[in-house]
């Protein structure tokens, strides 16, 4: 039993819904009690979908439990097949149905339908949403491609056979799905990258694919594993059974895109890739003088594995930030995230407890947070600017405009969306600087709501957990004096602290207090603050 307040991932059957809802011609019969239909709103509200996810719920009730719930399952399957006429059927159960063991998938397979049926067994009490999505995609591909598996010992198809066959090379794009971060736009950008290399995009799946499309997967020369959370198990299986090569570099960020292109050229036997197109503006934006102020900005990163690893590289190498924290809730990707952290001299934080993440965030005192919607809320409470880079999503993370993460345009978009919160931070600083000028209008709105411009102590709360009822929600800051370490800020010390730009104030305050404590001082004056500053700049 594990106490959970907010969760990064839903249960595994929600992952299965993501696959069904991403595809065309697939229907999912879910043995589940009333209430589990809440998951529909993830698609119709967050993704703003104009149709219901293709899911039929059995909606069993307590009174059904005494009787024949298996019969209810069969009726629901018959109704769903008749009404929706799917080309492939997924049958599974949610957490409660797993306990009553009706085995709906086995029931469905015995009902004599002609269509492919996938019996989904997704252990709800040990696995989570991304695992459920990956497993569903894998099982669906397995079921649909069963008949095409080459005999054991057959020669692996060469990724360069396109030349002999007198056609352009072609690749499958595997992994994009609904409720994934910016997948819709990433697909377009990856297609553009392939087009620049004269490569055809073959099957894109699961997003927008039909069962018939999945059956065309082996026709491609190789697979792109764009989101390992979702596509890794399928790609590995296609490698094993069909000898299809997998390209595992995720083209997010300029360095990664170049590696991705090189990997494609090597694999497919193509000429070296052409120079990046002119529409790639990101490197110049990062090199231009205006970006000097980005140098060494402290960044805290927490996301799914794919986006956390990509963000760490972009932040440290392409924007000149200092990564002060890196972690992920994707346990399946833990090893890769740990390796990325190690390269930056950090220890990766692998957890699905957002309170732990918030604590690590506060301790790292970053100037920018790159995270999920959960970190956006934590960062807001701590008064730190934040850009969302990964699922779990909010409706605002599915923008109307083209906003990819992958490809050249993705790099441009990332520059804007990470730097803008910092610019707002800079504006806050200006507000702070000019608020004593007579022209300054009282009530000039801060980006972060009322109060933050006159906040002396900085927005980083002390580490004593403030557990007061409900008010934890409010962006609260502790009084400047006395603090938890037992030293007191004098008026001169406080006045000096107030002159420090707000976005480093928290760090300066903490450092100064640590310094004072180390020296055994009970009071912090303006002089102590500067002594501490000198001490830490050494």
């Amino acid at each position: 039993m594990e106490l959970t307040l907010w969760t990064y991932e839903g249960p595994p059957h929600v992952g299965a819904m993501r696959i069904a809802a991403s595809m065309e011609g697939v229907h999912y019969v879910l043995h589940a009690p009333q209430g589990d239909t809440y998951a529909d709103l993830l698609f119709t509200m967050i993704e703003r979908r104009n149709k219901r996810p293709p899911v039929t719920y059995t909606s069993f009730q307590a009174r059904d439990l005494g009787g024949d719930t298996a019969d209810l399952v069969k009726r629901s399957i018959t109704d769903a097949v008749e009404r929706f006429q799917p080309q492939a059927l997924l049958v599974g159960e949610s957490c409660t149905a797993e306990l009553i063991q009706d085995q709906p998938g086995t029931l469905a397979q015995g009902m004599g339908f002609k269509l492919p049926i996938v019996n989904l067994e997704l252990p709800a009490y040990s696995k989570k949403e991304n695992w459920g999505a990956a497993e569903t995609f894998y099982q669906l591909c397995r079921t649909l491609l069963k008949g095409q598996i080459p005999a054991p010992g057959s020669a692996k198809p060469s990724p360069q056979r396109w030349r002999a066959e007198g056609r352009r090379p072609r690749l499958n794009l595997l992994g994009p799905s609904l409720l994934g971060f910016r997948c819709r736009d990433d697909v377009l950008e990856v297609k553009r990258l392939l087009e620049e290399l004269n490569i055809d995009s073959h099957v894109v799946a699961p997003l927008g694919a039909s069962p018939a499309d999945l059956q065309r997967i082996p026709e491609a020369d190789a697979n792109l594993c764009l989101y390992p959370e979702l596509a890794e198990s399928t790609c590995a299986w296609l490698e094993r059974q069909f000898g299809m090569a997998t390209v595992r570099t995720v083209p997010i960020g300029i360095g990664a895109i170049q590696e991705f292109r090189q990997e494609l050229c090597d694999l497919l036997g193509l000429e070296p890739p052409p120079a990046p197109p002119e529409r790639l503006r990101m490197p110049w934006y990062s090199q231009s003088v205006d970006s000097t102020y980005l140098t060494g900005k402290r960044v805290f990163i927490f996301a799914d594995g794919t986006h956390a690893i990509a963000a760490a590289r972009i932040a440290s190498q392409e924007l000149g930030f200092e990564v002060v924290g890196l972690g992920s809730y994707s346990r399946e990707q833990a090893r890769a995230v740990r390796a990325a952290a190690q390269q930056l001299g950090l220890e990766a934080l692998i957890t699905d407890n957002y309170l732990e993440v918030e604590q690590a965030m506060a301790a790292a005192a970053p100037e920018l947070v790159l995270g999920t919607q959960m970190e956006r809320h934590s960062a807001k409470r701590l008064g730190i600017p934040c850009a969302v880079i990964s699922a779990p999503l909010h409706v605002q993370d599915v923008p109307a405009r083209h906003a990819p993460q992958m490809g050249w345009e993705g790099a441009n978009a990332i520059f804007d969306s990470w730097v803008h919160p910092l610019m707002m931070g800079l504006e806050e600083h200006l507000l702070d600087m000019f608020r004593h000028d007579f022209e300054f209008v009282e009530g000039h709105m801060s980006h972060k709501g009322a109060g933050s411009t006159s906040n002396i102590s900085g927005n980083i709360p002390s580490n004593t957990a403030s557990n007061t009822i409900a008010s934890t929600a409010v962006n609260k800051s502790p009084a400047a004096a006395p603090n938890s370490e037992g030293c007191r800020w004098t008026t001169s010390g406080e006045a000096e602290l107030a002159r420090i730009p707000f976005f480093v104030r928290g760090k300066v305050k903490r450092n100064t207090e640590a310094f004072a404590q180390e020296k055994g001082l009970s009071e912090i004056t303006d002089e102590i603050l500067y002594e501490a500053k000198a001490h830490f700049s050494r």
């Binding site: 969760t7 839903g10 249960p11 957490c95 306990l99």
Partner: protein, 435 residues
Amino acid sequence: MSVSLTSAAGSSAGTAIDPKPIQENGQREVFCGLTSIVWLHRRMPDAFFLVVGSRTCAHLIQSAAGVMIFAEPRFGTAILGERDLAGLADANEELDRVVQELLARRPEIRTLFLVGSCPSEVIKLDLAKAAERLNRQHRGHVQVVSYSGSGIETAFTQGEDNALTALVPLLPSSAEKQLLLVGTLADGVEDRFLTLFERLGIDPVSSLPPRRSTELPSVGPATQVLLCQPFLGTTARALKARGAQLLSSPYPLGVEGSCRWFERAAEAFGIDPAHTRSVLDPLAERGRAAVAPHRRVLEGKKLFLLPDSQMELALGRFLQRECGMELVEIGTPYLDRQLQAEELALLPAGTQLSEGQHLEKQLERVRAAKPDLVVCGMGLANPLEAEGIATKWSIELVFSPIHGCDQAGDLAELFARPLRRRQALNFASSQPGNL
């Protein structure tokens, strides 16, 4: 067009043809009772709601609550793991451990609700016993109460009904004549109601649930119970078993329902009807004036209510009688004829009701009827809009202050807004042939 406060009772109450509801079973697009936690925890800031369930339960509440505003919300889920399923003894031990940790972390909690879920019920984890045990362990610091919010037993608002029912045995006894308001109201609305009861001369008035979980109201044979919400049947019966009298009235939605509701309380307390009118009439007049501009938008429009909160009958009654809408079908997850008697009597003869749900069949009826407005849950709203049918999300109706005469205009506005918006939007070129 003004609605008389008394004529409705005379002309139609008891004489309306009892509409034969369509009763259906199938896919239900309704939240489970756990969802009630979203408003219950706000009502009682010293209470914590601990769902004993699965990741699905945690995800449901998170998704229904929409935004993660609170760092540490006063609700959470003790997620059952495989080990808990293997042996109930372990599950009980684990639960004790989780509660211990929780209470150590949140010392300000005075009442802990253990909330049963589908999985905890299927594995027959006895939360009532667990509550007894935990009460012994934590006596003097926190009271532990249990109820079920599971989807196999409860739909949406029934979660509140069960939570309040669980509090009834804890209420102190009292022989004092008093008015007890039952059902969560927005704090502002409740304050307003208390002012009005004071003006009417009704005293004392208390509320269940109270604002502080430790300040439970008393109950006894002289307690007059007035329900603020129509979905509290089990609570009402439990209060009656404690000797309380249940006042039967339409629910305080819209001018008519609100006035009848106050009048019913005034009668029970022997208040001079002339005085009652002098208090309510100005409110009613102002309320009708506030509804009027929205009535102009809603009048003659066809309304289809899908089952959701059990407030559908009262809403349908308000929209038909005060806003002039035409009722196509009123769906409700569960029809409590006793609690809905006064609402049923106010509906036009022959109004089509439906109880339970077979979603696909109901949507076929929606499409066939081509209503101007459908009241439905969030899973259905955008898909229906995409089919060209205007919708109003029902979830707003349990989160917004909509009760009372003063809120009647706002309530009507919630339904008029989607129609106004459709009127306001125009993507056509002003020069034909340009696109």
